[in-house]
């Protein structure tokens, strides 16, 4: 299979303009004849559904939550990047582009990233017009702060709830279209498969989570915006119900899955407190604007933090990366924390933690100012840990947070199945091997508000509206497969709960395919996963039945997909025999523990093609060509 990324020709700053002119248009009167399915209502899906409906298409939008407003974008805390240069501190579209390519350790596609930086400025305009209450200066202009991997202040924010405010803006735009009759919203409805007719995505099969009914939905194109797969690790900062099912089902139907091993471990999360732990909570990267990270300089130092004098503390990020200090990118900050803990200098239960200390900031700015910047985060921390971070330093540890890998898409965000488009975290395109903070919100909204409305039209212009309907044999076939699989899950009637399998898989993935990976560990995981999967299908217990509201059945389907997907991740991690960004192969590091890339052999996207259950998938490669940014050792020193 030849992967054509459809990158426009010409200089990078002209590519998107050039392509927008080349794209075919659908006449306004014809738009309403086309039906588009959008799965997922986070920033990417919600913004896409609203904008496509504004243009006049008929949109069917789906989410498994009880309301589109609850998608996990809502939990994003810190902010959204945009190259507005309102601070006059040297920012530009080119600099945001450059920082993102470098931050991703030179494993992303230049043309996509440049377009992302270009449209970033329009996103802020759009959100302000919707009534998003961003933080402001006394003079009434928008305020900015800094995030990791950048030396300019380009992050727009709404306290520590930026994702919530952006999502509500987008949800309101979506509800406006529901009111206008152009969007039909299906909440509590989970997509369980894609229907491909004559090689094109033409619909989906869903399960109504309240009644258990399977439903067929026809469309002229299908847009997936179903988020990332971080919950393969069981414990992550993702919401409990985030899953890989929609993307994985598309993969099984022929969409290639790109760079699944690129996962982001966020450095500042609240540490695990016990075996009952159900999820992990992020403490925003924005805290690193004013908080200082440290561990005791001496191994096994058990003194309370306040008892450890300055000279006996190791502010390791400031020491190792003086020019970026506490704002080193996430992958680097996470590894440095792990290194300190592996060295026996970790703090808190089990020695798996480091301090994030605000004592200096409180002295410099006063407690009130610190409260106005981070109050809700401090509040959240105190609720979970019972400790007051104004008085004692926060204890933090890295946790799985985001997945850069995802379904392979071309410049138009179209997967290898024509008519199947993939947006936001669910695709792989913009962040390479490591995403910079405050760039996920930017990408989700860029894809939904400003890219798909153009590129989808080009596809639809070549399709006759309403070519097939749900009576087509392909729908019946897919629906039967979905029904049989649900029944199979219920019929096992074994002895172990879905959660117990999920925890076991997650622990295995964290140990062998987490912050540091090596060939031997990945091979161990590849040996163990198929066996665990067999145990799952032989011994899982799913109570209740399928014609009912059944949360265990929902989870079982998702965990079954994680059981297959985990193997693909480990295979990709084993095949990518280099270190880059969040993918750290311990075999490839410098003496001081920095990642060593192998540009000669791995400057490409690995996109995996499904070959059947239990069969080894086939790797396709998209070479990455860097015409603007020079490949270099990523240095934040």
């Amino acid at each position: 299979m030849h992967l054509d990324a459809k990158i426009p020709s010409g200089p990078i700053e002209k590519k998107w303009d050039t392509r927008r002119f080349e794209l075919k248009l659908v006449n306004p009167a014809n738009k309403r004849k086309y039906r588009v399915i959008v799965v997922g209502t986070g920033l990417a899906g919600g913004s896409a559904a609203a904008t496509l409906a504004e243009l006049g298409y008929h949109v069917d939008a789906f989410c498994f939550q009880d309301s589109p407003r609850r998608a996990h974008s809502i939990a994003a805390q810190g902010g959204i990047n945009a190259a507005k240069n309102y601070q006059g501190d040297g920012d530009s579209i080119y600099r945001l582009f450059y920082d993102t390519v470098k931050g991703g350790d030179f494993r992303s596609r230049e043309a996509n990233v440049y377009r992302l930086a270009q449209v970033s400025v329009e996103i802020i305009d759009q959100c302000v017009a919707q009534g998003v209450p961003f933080a402001r200066e006394y003079g009434g202009t928008l305020d900015n702060r800094s995030f990791g991997g950048a030396q300019v202040s380009r992050t727009f924010y709404a306290r520590g709830q930026t994702g919530q405010q952006l999502l509500i803006g987008c949800y309101q735009a979506l509800e406006r279209q529901v009111d206008a009759g152009r969007v039909r919203m299906y909440p509590r409805t989970e997509m369980l498969d894609v229907v491909v007719i004559d090689g094109h995505a033409k619909g989906i099969v869903t399960r109504d989570l309240v009644t258990g009914k399977l439903q067929r939905h026809y469309a002229d194109a299908v847009v997936l915006a179903t988020g990332g797969y971080g919950n393969v690790f069981y414990l992550s900062t993702n919401a409990k119900n985030c899953n890989v099912t929609a993307a994985f089902r598309a993969y099984r139907r022929g969409a290639l899955f790109a760079n699944p091993c690129f996962t982001q471990i966020h450095p500042t999360c609240i540490p695990v407190s016990g075996d009952y732990q159900s999820k992990l909570t992020l403490m925003s990267e924005s805290l690193r604007n004013d908080g200082r990270i440290w561990v005791p300089a001496k191994k096994g130092d058990q003194r309370a933090p306040g008892q450890i004098p300055e000279p006996e503390r190791d502010y390791y990020l400031e020491r190792k990366y003086p020019s970026f200090g506490n704002l080193a990118p996430r992958d680097i900050a996470s590894r440095a924390a792990k290194e300190a803990c592996d060295d026996g200098r970790g703090i808190g239960p089990g020695g798996l933690g480091v301090y994030l200390d605000f004592a200096d900031a409180i002295q410099r700015l006063g407690e009130d100012e610190v409260r106005s910047r981070y109050g809700n985060l401090f509040h959240m921390y105190e609720k979970i840990t019972g400790e007051n971070p104004y008085k004692v330093p926060m204890r933090i540890y890295p946790a799985v947070h985001y997945t850069m890998g995802g379904l392979w898409v071309d410049y138009h965000l179209q997967s290898t199945i024509p008519g199947l488009f993939v947006l936001g975290e669910a695709n792989f395109s913009d962040h390479g091997a490591n995403r910079l903070g405050a760039s996920a919100l930017m990408q989700g909204l860029a894809d939904g508000y400003f890219v798909i409305p153009y590129t989808l039209g080009d596809y639809l212009a070549g399709q006759k509206a309403g070519k097939a309907d749900t009576t087509h044999a392909a729908f019946a076939e897919v629906e039967n497969e979905v029904r049989a699989r649900l029944q199979r899950l219920l019929d096992v009637n074994g002895s172990r709960s879905v959660d117990s399998f999920h925890r076991e898989l997650g622990k295995l993935m964290w140990e062998e395919c987490g912050m540091a990976r090596d060939a031997a560990g990945l091979q161990r995981a590849l040996d163990r996963i198929p066996a665990l999967r067999e145990e799952f299908w032989g011994d899982v217990r799913v109570p209740g039945d399928s014609a009912d509201f059944n949360q265990e059945l929902e989870k079982a389907g998702r965990v079954a997909d994680f059981m297959e997907f985990a193997e693909l991740m480990c295979l990709d991690a084993l095949t990518r025999d280099e270190s880059c960004g969040g993918h750290f192969r311990t075999e490839h590091q410098t003496d001081d523990g920095e990642a060593v890339r192998d540009d000669a052999n791995f400057t490409h996207v690995s996109a995996w093609e499904y070959k059947g259950y239990g069969e080894r998938p086939v790797e396709q490669r998209e070479p990455l060509v860097f015409e603007n940014v020079k490949l270099a050792v990523r240095s934040y020193k």
């Binding site: 609203a50 009534g131 209450p133 928008l142 009111d179 909440p187 609720k383």
Partner: protein, 256 residues
């Protein structure tokens, strides 16, 4: 507070209801928890035990488990989201309780929030209230530069305070009239505080209130129970703002 080992034995009285058309009842369970657990993790422990015994686990809505998605909705010992102020049920930790406690767990109860199963209710009415005008009518791509319209810091902060609503519905569950005025007014006040939202304020006030009433929510009689239980501590001044705007709009015979 727990005993010396950090474990606590609890008696849970939980509302169980098979489906929307069946009647429900309180059932009692014993569970052993740990003071570091979150409240929902304590329910996870119970559910794992129920699955082990071949019983159906307790259905409850939850997702982010960090107090922002608005999914969780438990009435704990008679109070929506439980005893702690400014806290969602998922942020509540077991250290708030003590060994030997009995805890009553029920769903939101309101005509406009029918029970789906156990502790899960249908809050679709909230989406319909937003669809009736809880937005600014601006299409993608037609926005002026973000700094073109200046907004004072205090106004932006106040708007944020209202916009922080997570749409959980605790305000309705706490209200003796099952009114959703705090939810409706928070959205109205958020948009009214910003120049972008002021243009359509009259029409918004009228349409959102009409939809609120049509959904079967009750009227506001200024008891302020809603404010007391709101996990985001949204102020009832929003309701005063909406009432004033609604009266003004009624006099102007707004086209809806």
């Amino acid at each position: 507070m727990a005993n010396a080992t950090g474990t606590m034995r609890l008696k849970l009285h939980i509302w169980r209801q098979k489906g929307p058309n069946q009647s429900g009842a309180i059932k009692t369970y014993d569970v052993t928890a740990n003071e570091h657990m979150s409240f929902l993790e304590m329910l996870d422990v119970l559910n794992q035990e129920l699955i082990g015994k071949g019983e159906e686990p307790v259905a409850f809505d939850h997702d982010c488990r960090e107090g922002i998605c608005g999914s969780c909705n438990l009435v704990i010992n008679g109070v929506p989201h439980g005893p702690q102020r400014g806290t969602t049920a998922c942020q509540l930790h077991m250290r708030t309780f003590k060994d030997g406690d009995e805890i009553w767990i029920e769903p939101w109860r309101a005509k406009a929030f029918p029970v789906i199963k156990d502790l899960v209710v249908d809050r679709g009415a909230f989406d319909r209230i937003i669809a009736a005008g809880g937005y600014v009518s601006v299409n993608t791509g037609s926005a002026p530069d973000a700094n073109e319209i200046l907004i004072g810091k205090a106004d932006a902060e106040e708007a944020f305070g209202y916009a922080a609503c997570i749409g959980c519905g605790a305000c309705v569950a706490a209200c003796k009239n099952a009114s959703a005025m705090l939810f409706t007014a928070a959205k109205f006040a958020h948009l009214q505080k910003l120049p972008q939202g002021r243009v359509e304020a009259d029409r918004r006030a009228v349409r959102m209130v009409q939809q609120h009433d049509a959904e079967g929510f009750g009227s506001c009689t200024n008891q302020y129970e809603c404010e007391a239980v709101c996990p985001k501590e949204i102020s009832v001044t929003s309701i005063a703002r909406l009432n004033a705007a609604y009266r003004r709009a009624s006099l102007r015979s707004v086209e809806v």
